[in-house]
């Protein structure tokens, strides 16, 4: 094989392809990550409808494929085939480019998402800053989409949702800063903004930052978790598309494929912000208790988790296959569901192979945590009633922002408590002597 492929596969290489400077492997990673995210969005589409339906004691999609499993594909075909309408008097260029900008902003964020110590496209010195900055470009896409539609509802909707995103970005940034501050509590006293560095800092300090300086880390995480839902325009902050009260927001005039680009962007943004939360507070790719339960025995025990997850999924699928109605109309669907379970079981078996097993540990735990966050998103949507716009602004500016500032200051004070104590002591001593 050519050198540019084999170089990176050297056993001594412990950096991401971007840092190593291997364009080939960087491209492979980019394709894998983007393909994976798009697949995850498709799965989320089905899971959201299904889980939400079960929460509301409905069946959800049941017709296309067994248990509606082929519904996302049917939806995609429908969206592609639909007529692509550009309204009369719209600014065609801006109308055309707005969904692209949203997608571009969201997918660029994935360049620094660390799925493992070496499993990221690249690691930047400004990692978290880059993520926040690039994801804030999404607001531009929303404003442009609203304005270019040449219609009142999208314009008002765009103002509404961009005001929401801009306000919550502030609280989000403060929460992030308090986590970044925690990374600097080491011997050298220098922190890091790099996503991989932040996870390494948590490993070095033997604690996930959510539990650091309890309850300060927890409060910062809470602020981020609320702001993150508002940032991605999801329930209970989904004012941009409050379908039951308001006309859908900035994408009212969009249809067909372009509209589906907005949806793709929204779901991809959900995964992106969840991965920020996981990296900053929940230990990134690390398995639970990497320091406490260390050693080969525990490593072996935890290495069965990926395979067990897939076996569990396979078991659930097989159980549903058994419960399918025994009628000749359902024969194809039953066979299809059984085959789906078999695929899960096969993936589980592959994950048990020794060569594969060791390498996917980090990725598995990261994706597991993302999955938990995605479930939370759906759960919020099924549980919380929607906020009114003034309540939303009030929560953002009058509750989360002061809380963020308070947590940041307290974190700084607690982090520097010994230095602060010495300083006060010294100052008092001098005051007394003068």
């Amino acid at each position: 094989m050519p050198d540019f492929i084999t170089n990176y596969l050297d056993k001594n290489v412990h950096v991401t392809p971007g840092e190593y400077g291997s364009p080939f492997w960087a491209l492979v990673y980019i394709l894998v990550v983007f393909g994976g995210v798009s697949m995850a969005v498709v799965c989320m589409n089905w899971l959201e409808r299904k889980i939400l339906a079960h929460m509301q004691i409905r069946l959800g999609p049941m017709r296309v494929g067994p248990h509606g499993l082929l519904q996302p594909i049917a939806d995609a075909i429908k969206l592609i085939l639909k007529e692509d309408i550009i309204p009369e008097g719209a600014d065609r260029f801006v109308f055309w480019i707005a969904p692209m900008i949203i997608l571009l902003a969201v997918f660029s964020v994935y360049t620094v998402v660390p799925f493992g110590p070496t499993h990221a496209i690249t690691d930047m010195n400004i990692g978290i800053l880059f993520m926040l900055g690039v994801s804030s470009l999404g607001v531009l896409g929303i404003v442009m989409a609203g304005w270019a539609s040449n219609s009142h509802y999208p314009l008002i909707g765009a103002l509404r949702s961009s005001a929401q995103m801009v306000s919550y970005e502030v609280a989000m940034g403060l929460a992030v800063i308090s986590a970044v501050l925690m990374t600097s509590l080491n011997a050298e006293g220098t922190g890091t903004l790099s996503m991989i560095g932040i996870v390494h800092a948590q490993y070095a300090q033997h604690v996930w930052f959510i539990f650091k300086f309890f309850p300060l880390g927890l409060i910062a995480f809470f602020i981020f978790a609320v702001a993150m839902v508002a940032e991605t325009n999801r329930a209970p902050f989904d004012l941009p598309e409050a379908e039951s009260e308001l006309t859908a927001g900035f994408h009212t005039e969009y249809s067909g494929l372009r509209w589906s680009l907005f949806m793709l962007g929204e779901y991809a943004a959900m995964i992106a912000v969840s991965s920020i939360a996981i990296t900053l507070w929940l230990g990134g790719w690390m398995r639970p208790f990497p320091n406490l339960l260390s050693g080969p025995t525990w490593d072996l025990a935890f290495s069965f988790f990926p395979a067990l997850t897939f076996f569990g999924l396979a078991g659930m699928t097989f159980y549903s296959t058994m419960r399918m109605p025994r009628h000749s109309f359902f024969r194809v669907q039953t066979i299809g569901l059984g085959a789906f379970g078999a695929v899960f079981a096969l993936i589980g078996l592959i994950l048990l192979l020794p060569g594969v097993n060791g390498r996917i540990q980090d990725i598995y735990w990261f994706i597991f945590k993302i999955a938990v966050f995605m479930y939370l998103y759906i759960w919020y949507r099924g549980t919380f009633p929607r906020y009114r716009f003034d309540q939303l602004m009030k929560v953002g500016w009058k509750i989360l922002l002061p809380m963020g500032i308070g947590v940041l200051m307290l974190t700084g004070i607690v982090a520097l408590r010994t230095e602060l104590w010495d300083f006060m002591h010294e100052a008092l001593r001098r005051l007394v002597h003068v």
Partner: protein, 169 residues
């Protein structure tokens, strides 16, 4: 890692920046101008990256593109575009315009010719990997006073904005 194709990216980014900078003043529609300005600012962020200043590039994107330009677009969208499109785009002051252009051009040419001797050739003192940390160290040690003054200025601006916006406090 060593940077790849630096000349290509330099000319690409600066060419795009100049092109979109020209578009900012030639477009009649203010929204298009603002979008072109956003492209210029993004190109500048790219150029900062090439100067081994990733922190400045990140802050450029967050503040200018994500913050200031979004507010710009906000304001532009709310004003009446019909009237501004009917107005004359350029005033006819040829003489001052040409004089200013000639002066600026002369400055550029002088710097291009003599610049090598005038300025010390910068050497990269801090590797890219430590840029952010170094900026932080500098801001909170050597340049502490100017930094605090700047934040005080911003506070005054915020209070001023609130006072102007509220009729009764």
């Amino acid at each position: 890692m060593e940077p790849v194709a630096t000349t290509f990216f330099f000319y690409l980014l600066s060419g795009l920046a100049i092109l979109s900078g020209v578009l900012v003043i030639t477009r009649k529609n203010p929204v298009h101008s603002a979008l072109a300005l956003i492209l210029t600012l993004l190109c500048l962020a790219g150029l900062y990256l090439m100067l081994y200043a990733p922190f400045v590039a990140g802050v450029q994107i967050i503040l200018y593109v994500g913050g200031i330009m979004v507010l710009f677009l906000f304001v532009i969208m709310l004003v009446n575009l019909e009237r501004s499109q009917k107005e004359k785009q350029f005033n006819q002051q040829w003489v001052p315009g040409i004089l200013a252009a000639v002066a600026l051009g002369a400055l550029f040419v002088t710097i291009y010719i003599k610049g090598g001797a005038l300025f010390v050739r910068p050497e990269i003192r801090f590797p890219e990997a430590e840029n952010t940390q170094q900026v932080g160290q500098m801001l909170y040690s050597n340049y502490m006073f100017p930094f605090e003054i700047a934040s005080l200025l911003l506070l005054v601006a915020i209070i001023g904005a609130v006072v102007m916006a509220k009729k009764k406090i």
